[in-house]
Structure formats: C-alpha cells, structure tokens
C-alpha cells in the first residue's frame, strides 16, 4: 500500500433506509485490505454516524475515505444548513432531529460524540447556510 487508496460515495439525502450503505462498503473494503478489526470497527461506526447525519440533517452529501499505511481519513461534506453552535452539537444528548427520525431509533444526540470517541481526531468546519465538512482520522496501529 504505497499510494493512498481513495473511496468516494454520494450519500443520498432522500433515502433514509439505504443510509449506511457507504459505511458497509468501506467496512468490507478495509477488511479486504487486511486492516485490524478494531480499527475497522472504529472507522465504520464514525463514518456511519456521519453518513446518517448527512441524511437526517443536511439532505445528503459526499463521503470520501482515504487509506494509507499510516492513517484512515474520512471526509464528509454536505451543503446542508450548517451547524450554528458546534460545542452544543458535540454534547451528548443534544439533537434537533424530528420525532419521526427518533421513532426509527436515531436522534439520540450521540452521533457526534460517538464520532469523536471512535476516532483519533475530529475536525468540524461548518458555516450556517453553506454546509458542513467533517474530517476524521483513525491511525493504523500496525506500522510497517
């Protein structure tokens, strides 16, 4: 793995039932690359939460995953409403999700905290009315 591998996905904002497909594909690809299963689990969980957020809160977006020897980087970008108060959004339990989303088991306000907990770094760039970009990194502990 000398060059970075890049996987790119359009996340459909209309189709809540298929949300998570990109994460499932990434999980399978990482498994085929022989990456440590705990690392795969962390990447999968963080990416899924981000994917679901793009569907619930932003009408979809684009997800990109770069894999190199050192690190797995997940970049999620949308043109949704943006996040007004990022500190608040990061708090466990804070959610603006509507009731119908909650009845499906989402909207517990644990998504961003989960993304932080399962990654080595999480950066959020968001502008109200423009969109949100989230960059997460998980370091590959197996050094070559």
């Amino acid at each position: 793995m000398s060059e970075a591998l890049v996987f790119r996905f359009d996340v459909d904002g209309e189709d809540f039932t298929s949300a998570g497909q990109a994460s499932v594909i990434v999980k399978r690809n990482l498994r085929q690359l022989g990456i440590d299963s705990e690392i795969i689990r962390r990447v999968s969980i963080a990416m899924y939460e981000g994917e679901i957020n793009m569907v619930i809160h932003a009408g979809g977006g684009v997800a990109e995953v770069r894999v190199d020897e050192e690190c797995i980087e997940i970049v999620l970008e949308d043109h949704g409403p943006g996040i007004k108060d990022i500190d608040k959004a990061m708090q466990e339990g804070y959610s603006t999700a509507p009731d119908e989303i909650r009845s499906l088991g989402f909207g517990a306000g644990m998504g961003l905290p989960n993304m932080k907990r399962h990654t080595d770094s999480l950066e959020i760039f968001s502008t109200v009315g423009v969109g949100t970009k989230i960059v997460m990194k998980v370091y590959n502990k197996v050094a070559s």
């Binding site: 939460e49 989402f106 989960n114």
Partner: protein, 109 residues
C-alpha cells in the same frame, strides 16, 4: 456459546442464521441506535425491540454476533432478506428485554 446453539434453546428461535457459528461474548440491550453503536462491543448479542432496516446496518457496523428481537417483535421479510445477505444473525423471542437478559445470564454462565 455459538449463536446457532442459542437458537436451539427453548424461548429462542432462529429467524436467519447466515453466520451461526459466531460466538456470543456478551450482551447489550438498547433501542437507540447511536447508543448501541457507541456502547455495544464486538461479539455481543444485541437485544432490541427495534426492527427497521437500520438495525441491520448497525448490527453489521458494530460487529455484534446476533440481534435478538424481544417481546415477539418480528422484522419484515425484506429486512430478514437483507440480514441474510449481509451475514447478520437474527433470533426471536417472546420474552421481554429483561426476561431475555435474565435467560442469557443463566445460559452464558
């Protein structure tokens, strides 16, 4: 204990067991999917009453050994089909979530 062995025990039934040889190492109970993603450990048996298709994605990504639908909850055929394709074991029981946990604690001892 293997998932397929649990499915043989009274009170439990197999819905689909594409990976029946997986071992159950622990138990997690919850219906809020982000909590499950954040807190369930790999190889846990996950007890829930939630049965929409997102449950299958969460089960797959969090790497639980099986999903146990409590209270007699039965997922739709299309969801069972998805689970079978994705290698997610589904088990049913008419016990409550609490009753299921109590049974599992006896069985997994």
């Amino acid at each position: 204990m293997k998932v397929k062995e649990l499915a043989q025990i009274s009170d439990f039934g197999a819905i689909t067991l594409p990976e029946g040889d997986r071992d159950i190492e622990g138990v997690y109970i919850g219906d809020l999917l982000s909590w499950v993603m954040g807190r369930a450990r790999a190889d846990d048996a996950w007890i829930t009453i939630m049965s929409n298709v997102n449950v299958i994605a969460v089960a797959s990504l969090s790497d639980v050994s099986c999903v146990i639908f409590a209270e007699g909850v039965m997922p739709e055929d299309s969801i069972v089909e998805t689970a079978t394709k994705k290698g997610i074991n589904l088990i049913s029981t008419s016990l409550s979530a609490y009753g299921t946990a109590v049974r599992l604690s006896e069985i997994l001892k």
